[in-house]
Symmetry: C2
Subunit: 408 residues, 2 copies
C-alpha cells in the first residue's frame, strides 16, 4: 500500500484545478457544475472509455484529442451527459475550444467529459461564459481539488478524492485524482468519471498500458446496479515534473508506477462502490480457490451484481442461498458441493455454507456482522488457486427513489 | 389467440389437482404448501429446467424420472427450495415415493419440484404425513386447480392459472396450467414453476420439442430481477384423452399444438412479469427493425433487465436515455443514430427519441401514459426486419422490502 497524501487531483507537481457553478444545473445555483484541471506543462495522456455501444459525444471528442497521446487540460461538466443530444460533438468541441482559449493551448490539448441526464441539449453557452471565472479560480490546493470534485458530482453524496506518493526511479512521484459515481456503475465502467494526475515521467504508450492494466483490476471490478453508462471515462495526465527518468518500457520503474496507480484506483473504486446510489453497505466479495483468476472474477462479479444478494445485504440477512445462486448463473462451471461461504466484517466472521450445504449458524451474530457499513462475502470454491476481489453495494429504498425520478 | 377456458390445470380431460397445508411453511398455517397433480392414465411428459449451475435436488430427481418420457403425477411444495440442503435428493425421492404410494403408480412416474428458501433441510416428514389428506382432496374442478396454484406460491401476490382450447387433428384439445413467480425471474427461467397439462395425444419426443420451442419465446423472454434461480422448472403432462391422432412428427397438428402451447405460455409469462416481486407495472418491450430476431431479443432483454429503466418506469418517468443506454450494453452492435423510442399504454402513445436524439415532448402526456399498469416500450432500430417482444416489470420499494428480509 502506498502512502496516502493530501491534495487530491492537485497533489502532483504542476497541476491546478477549479470547480464553479455556471448554470448547467439550472435547479441548484449552489451546486458546482464545471471543473477544470490544468497542467503547467504538456503531459503524456491516456484514457479508458465505456464499452457501451451508445457513447456520449465528449467521448468521441476526447478520443480524437488523445490520438497523439498528449494533453494539457481536462474540462468536465455535470448536470447534462451530452449523450444522444443535438449538436453533441459540436458542443463538446466548443467546451474544449473555450478551455483552450483560457489556458492558452490548442483545443486538441483539452480532454472533455460530461455526466448527467441523457438526451437534452447541453447549454454550452453558460460554460463558455463561465470559463474566465473558472480559469481565474485555478489553484494548486486541496480546496481547489475539492471544488473540482464537487463540480463533477451528480447523485454522489460525498466527493471522491485521493492522492498517493511512491518511489519510482529513485524519485518521489505523486498520483492524485478526483472521481464521481454513483449509479450505472458496473464492470466495464459505470457512469463514472475519474481524472488522475501524476508528476511521474512516463511515455504516452506506457501510460496507456498502465492505465488499461489498472482499470481492469479496479474500476472494472465494481458494480452498483449492472448498468453501464454512455459516458464513463477514466483519464490520466502525466507531466514528468517529478524528475524521474522517463518510463519508456516495462521494467522496475513501470512496475512501481503500476503498483501506485493500482493502489489509488482500487481505493477510488471502493469509494465509488460505497457511495453507490442509495447504498448503505460497501460489499466486498473475495472468491478464492477458483480454477483461474478469470473464473474467480466472473463469479465475484456475478455475486456483487445480483439484485437479490444486494437486497439481502440491505436487510442484513445472511441469505447465502442468494450468493450460491448468483455464482451458479455466472456462466462459469464449477462443483457447488465444494463451495464454502463466509460473511465477515469488523464485527466478526461466520461460516454459513460448507461444501455447498447450509450450516446451522448463529443468526444473531450473522445479523451483527452484516449490520456493519462494510461487509465481506468470502467464497472458497475448492477448485484451484485462482482468486479475485470485486466491490459492490446493497440496493435500497433510496436507490429506487433516486432513480424513479432522476430527471426532475 | 386461442379461446380461454375455465379450469386451470384441471381443464384438460383426466387431470385432478389438490393443494393443502401440511406444515412446510411453519409460520403460516393458513398457507397451502403442497400441491399434487395427477392424471388418471399414463402421460407423455417433458420438462425444461434452470440453466443455473447450482441446481436444486428435485431437478436432478425429476430429470431422472423423465428419462423414459412418461409420468403420471407432479408433486410440489413451497416454503423450502430443497436446494443446497442436506439429504436433498433423498428427500425429493421420498416426496415422489409418498405420492406414488397414494396414487398407486411407480415413484419414477412422479415429477417433483420445490420452491422457497435455499439451504435449509426440507421437512419431508410433514409432506409424507400429509399425503393421504392431499390425495383425498384431489378433484377435477376450477377450485382444485386454484388450491394447487395457491400451494406453490411464495411471494406471489396472485395465483397464476390459465387454460385454453384449440383444434388439433379435428379434435378439441385443452391445455391448462398453474404457475408461480415472482422473484429471481430472468431469461433462461427465474424461480418459476409452471405445471401444464393437456389431453392432446402427442409423443414424448414431440412434446419435448414443443415445450422447448415454446419456452424459448415465452418464459425465457421475461425478467423480473436478473437472477436465475436454482429450482426453475416448467413441465407438461399429455394424456391423450382428447382422442386426436397422436402427434408423432412435425406437421400441421404439431404446429397447431405449438400455437396453443405458445398462447398459454406467453399469457402465463406475462402474468409472472406483472406479478414480479413488488411490481406496479407490467413492462412490454418490443424491438423491431433489428438485424435479426436474435438481435431484437438481446436488445429487448437488456432493456427489460435494466435496473435503471425499471426504476424510471416505477417513477412513471419517460427517461428514454435509460432505454438507449441499456440497448447500448446489450452486447449487440448497432447504430444508435437510427433508433426511435416510443412509450405506449392504454392512455396513448408518445415518440420521445427519434434517430437517436431526444425530442421535446409533452411530459404531462408521457406521465399519464406511464401511470397505467401496463406500459410498452417500442423500439425501432432501423437496421432490418428482426423483431422480438420481452416482458418485465418495474423495481419498487416493495421489491427491496420483500428481498431485504426474505428468510424471516
Amino acid at each position: 500500500m502506498c502512502k496516502l497524501i493530501e491534495g487530491g487531483v492537485c497533489a502532483a507537481e504542476g497541476f491546478r484545478a477549479a470547480g464553479i457553478h455556471v448554470g448547467v444545473k439550472t435547479h441548484a445555483a449552489w451546486k458546482k457544475d464545471v471543473a477544470l484541471i490544468v497542467s503547467g506543462v504538456p503531459c503524456a495522456a491516456a484514457a479508458v472509455f465505456t464499452k457501451n455501444v451508445v457513447k456520449a459525444a465528449p467521448i468521441h471528442v476526447t478520443k480524437a484529442h488523445l490520438a497523439d497521446g498528449t494533453a494539457r487540460a481536462v474540462i468536465a461538466n455535470s448536470g447534462n451527459a451530452n449523450a444522444c443530444a443535438p449538436q453533441g460533438e459540436e458542443n463538446a468541441e466548443r467546451m474544449c475550444a473555450a478551455a483552450a482559449k483560457a489556458v492558452g493551448c490548442a483545443p486538441e490539448e483539452v480532454l472533455v467529459c460530461s455526466t448527467g441526464v441523457i438526451g437534452q441539449t447541453l447549454n454550452v453557452g453558460v460554460i463558455e461564459a463561465g470559463l474566465p471565472e473558472l480559469y481565474a479560480a485555478l489553484e494548486r490546493s486541496p480546496e481547489a481539488s475539492d471544488a473540482a470534485a464537487h463540480a463533477i458530482m451528480t447523485t454522489d453524496t460525498v466527493t471522491k478524492e485521493l492522492a498517493v506518493e511512491a518511489q519510482v526511479g529513485g524519485k518521489t512521484v505523486h498520483i492524485g485524482g478526483i472521481a464521481k459515481g454513483s449509479g450505472m456503475i458496473h464492470p466495464n465502467m459505470g457512469t463514472m468519471l475519474c481524472f488522475l494526475t501524476t508528476d511521474c515521467a512516463i511515455s504516452a504508450p506506457m501510460l496507456d498500458a498502465a492505465l488499461h492494466e489498472v482499470v481492469a483490476v479496479s474500476f472494472n471490478r465494481i458494480s452498483v446496479d449492472g448498468d453501464t453508462s454512455t459516458n464513463d471515462t477514466c483519464c490520466i495526465l502525466a507531466n514528468g515534473l517529478a524528475g524521474n527518468g522517463e518510463i519508456r518500457e516495462k521494467g522496475d520503474d513501470y512496475a512501481a508506477f503500476v503498483r501506485a496507480l493500482e493502489d489509488i484506483c482500487v481505493r477510488m473504486a471502493r469509494k465509488m462502490a460505497k457511495d453507490g446510489e442509495g447504498a448503505k453497505h460497501l460489499v466486498t466479495c473475495t472468491v478464492s480457490g477458483a480454477k483461474s483468476e478469470g473464473q474467480a472474477e466472473a463469479v465475484s462479479k456475478s455475486v456483487i451484481s445480483s439484485t437479490l444478494t444486494k437486497a439481502a445485504i440491505f436487510g442484513c440477512d445472511a441469505n447465502w442461498g442468494r450468493v450460491l445462486c448468483a455464482m451458479g448463473y455466472s456462466g462459469e462451471n464449477f462443483n457447488p458441493e465444494k463451495v464454502d461461504v463466509r460473511f465477515r466484517s469488523s464485527a466478526g466472521e461466520i461460516l454459513v455454507c460448507e461444501q455447498g450445504r447450509g450450516l446451522a449458524f448463529d443468526e444473531g451474530l450473522a445479523k451483527t456482522i452484516l449490520t456493519e457499513d462494510e461487509v465481506e462475502i468470502l467464497i472458497q470454491m475448492g477448485e484451484g488457486d485462482g482468486s479475485c476481489t470485486c466491490w459492490g453495494c446493497d440496493i435500497t429504498y433510496d436507490y429506487i427513489k433516486i432513480n424513479g425520478d432522476y430527471r426532475t
